[in-house]
């Protein structure tokens, strides 16, 4: 690697001139060894809490850190601020990719990372291990959510599980009948909803196509939609290219999707339950379903930035957000299964946990949680190389055309 002095000077100038955060040191982390295909940078977890620092910058999915500004009744940030004295700043992101970029700025203390972001954050050294003994509510969290491939490496916890859910199939009941039970309404080239389909705008959406192929084309031998070899990957990409003419829009902003569904510019699509709830509350005839093929989904983890100057506040926040009260409010507002079983008795809808199969580990295992694709196939195959996220990203531009 040629790393001459001039080059570093230019790099320095670039950092100064463009104020771009991505220009750290160019340490090419070796991707060898380790059960999960990489060795994370050596970082220590906190050993004990200090005094709260008085401020906390949160990077969260929309709906995860509500302070009453969207809806005065929905607020679990203010009680936290009052209890700890940590003044909270919330920045929301639309996709995991956006979250990873934002996290690199080092301006945020905690992040609610989905599985397709968490491994990247760990590998880049953006987040550090979490000492779970400093998070009292961690003890209550369902065991089947702890030390999973997306929130731990070699049994070291990198965060606190928060909740999980599926990317559901949503449809307008007045225009889509009978009620769909399969993703084929979105993928079949002869779908009657041509030009009215709305799909998720992120490379990780390729996994949705792979999941559909897993059930409809078993000869491809897809075992895990995040572990795709050349042939399987190409088949998924081709399926999405074939879907492209059906698509009216790709959404990354859930509010934009909600508006499209409400106005009838889209009648069927992939959505989060929170979008469905929001759109229903505005009077649109909308329903959601978990199709027979299953669905992709997310299992989210609160993680602490390695560069955070407010770590005590960060730990207090993690403890607060998985406390029964806060976890119940988030789960119900966002439309997901809470991580803390004690939250189930505190939801306004007594059947919330039942509806979302909260404690049902068998159901949870049916959902393919977002996981960052890496060259080592995570379904256990060692004779082939899988496509990594860089290739997924390039293919995504190509799919959109």
């Amino acid at each position: 690697m040629r790393n001459s002095r001039t080059l570093r000077l230019i790099a320095g100038l670039m950092c100064a001139g463009t104020a771009v955060a991505a220009c750290g040191t160019s340490s090419t982390s070796s991707s060898s060894g380790g059960g999960q295909g990489f060795t994370p940078p050596k970082l220590e977890a906190m050993s004990q809490l200090g005094q709260p620092e008085g401020a906390l910058n949160i990077l969260a999915w929309p709906g995860y850190a509500e302070n009453g500004s969207n809806d005065p009744a929905v607020d679990w940030v203010t009680p936290f601020e009052q209890a700890t004295g940590c003044k909270v700043n919330v920045k929301t992101f639309g996709t995991s990719d956006e979250a990873v970029s934002l996290m690199k700025t080092g301006q945020y203390d905690v992040i609610s990372a989905s599985g397709d972001a968490s491994l990247r954050l760990i590998a880049a050294g953006d987040v550090e291990p979490v000492n779970t003994s400093l998070v009292p509510n961690y003890a209550d969290v369902y065991d089947f959510l702890k030390n999973k491939p997306w929130n731990s490496v070699h049994n070291t916890a990198y965060g606190v599980p928060h909740g999980w859910g599926a990317n559901v199939l949503t449809y307008r009941t007045d225009q889509v009948s009978p009620a769909p039970t399969s993703w084929s309404v979105m993928f079949d080239p002869n779908s009657p909803f041509k030009g009215k389909v709305i799909a998720y705008d992120s490379p990780i959406y390729i996994a949705d196509a792979a999941l559909y192929l897993m059930k409809t084309k078993p000869e491809l031998g897809i075992k895990n939609p995040y572990a795709l070899d050349d042939k399987q990957f190409q088949a998924s990409v081709d399926l999405l290219k074939q879907q492209r003419p059906l698509v009216s829009e790709y959404w990354s902003d859930y509010l934009k999707e909600s508006q499209a569904l409400k106005n009838g510019d889209a009648v069927v699509g992939t959505a989060w339950q929170v979008t469905v709830n929001l759109t229903q509350s505005e009077g649109a005839p909308l329903e959601s379903t978990l199709p027979t093929e299953g669905a992709t989904g997310w299992s989210d983890t609160w993680m602490v930035s390695a560069k955070s100057p407010h770590k005590t506040c960060a730990y207090k926040w993690m403890d607060h957000i998985i406390s029964p009260e806060a976890n119940a409010k988030v789960a119900e507002y966002f439309g997901e299964a809470p991580a803390n079983p004690k939250a189930c008795s505190l939801t306004a809808d007594a059947k919330h946990c039942e509806t979302y199969h909260a404690g049902d580990s068998a159901y949870a295992s049916q959902i393919w949680y977002w996981t960052t694709p890496i060259t080592q196939c995570i379904d256990g195959r060692t004779d082939v190389q899988c496509k990594d996220y860089g290739e997924w990203t390039r293919a995504w531009t190509e799919i959109k055309g």
Binding site: M1, R2, N3, L7, R8, I10, A11, L13, M14, G17, T18, V20, A22, C23, G24, T25, S26, S27, T28, S29, S31, F38, T95, D97, E98, V100, S101, K104, R120, A123, A124, G125, G195, S202, P203, R244, V247, S248, E249, Y250, K256, Q259, N263, G264, D265, T372, I374, D388, Y389, G390, E391, T393, R394, W396, T397, E398, K400, G401
Partner: protein
Amino acid sequence: MSIAASVSGYLYRKPRLRLGMLLSAPLLWLGLAYLGALAALFVTAFWHTDTFTGQVVTEWSLDNFATLVSDEVYRTITLRTLGIAVAVTVVDAVIAFPMAFYMAKFASPRAQRILVIAVMTPLWASYLVKAYSWRVMLSGNGLVGWLFGATPGYGLAATIITLSYLWLPYMILPIYAGLDRLPNSLVEASGDLGARSWRTFRSVVLPLTFPAIVAGSIFTFSLTLGDYITVKIVGGANQMLGNVVYDNIGAANNLPFAATVATVPVVIMLVYLFVVRRTGALDNL
């Protein structure tokens, strides 16, 4: 003698130093903050990122440019963006010319002032509000469908309509300025020599105001080439060059490739400016 007076006396005797001090701030701005950042951008285009951790690897290679040229999708996107830019420019020129012509040649001085303000008012409103209003108007049950019985829906047509709306003032004002400078006596002379109005327009007005139209087109063209928000709001599933740049930074966190893609509009604009330089359009800016 006070210090101020002695300093001013010293500066008076050294005109070069005076000039240097006067120009140092703008030159520093232009040289470092503006051109320096641009240069840094081009340097970045030759690097690449570690696809998993997303960190920039400072190794020189032409791979990014090779991808840009060899992948068909980037050619398609470049051509689509160019097409949109040309369409927006043509639409704006066709709408702006009669408007500017009326403003410059027929309206009373008072009406002229009011019209100039009216043309500028949309510039004071937020870009996003205007783009989202078009999203609502072009929606299936929006204003456009209600008025005309049909709506183009979200797609390239909607993108061209919205961008034409957004950039129209940038076309009207240069043409208005150009027409304002066109002496009425020339038009009258043409009439005296027997030319009918169409002939006068074609042989006198149009050639003399063409540089002004080109000056306006530089705005509509370059602004469209760099846009990514409108197409995201009303463009349906389509993407433009700006979206590729945005996705590579926002989603893929691949700053080097984003920089490579960003060179495309720069090159297009350089070629365009080189071509229009001869029309004298640059004197009209």
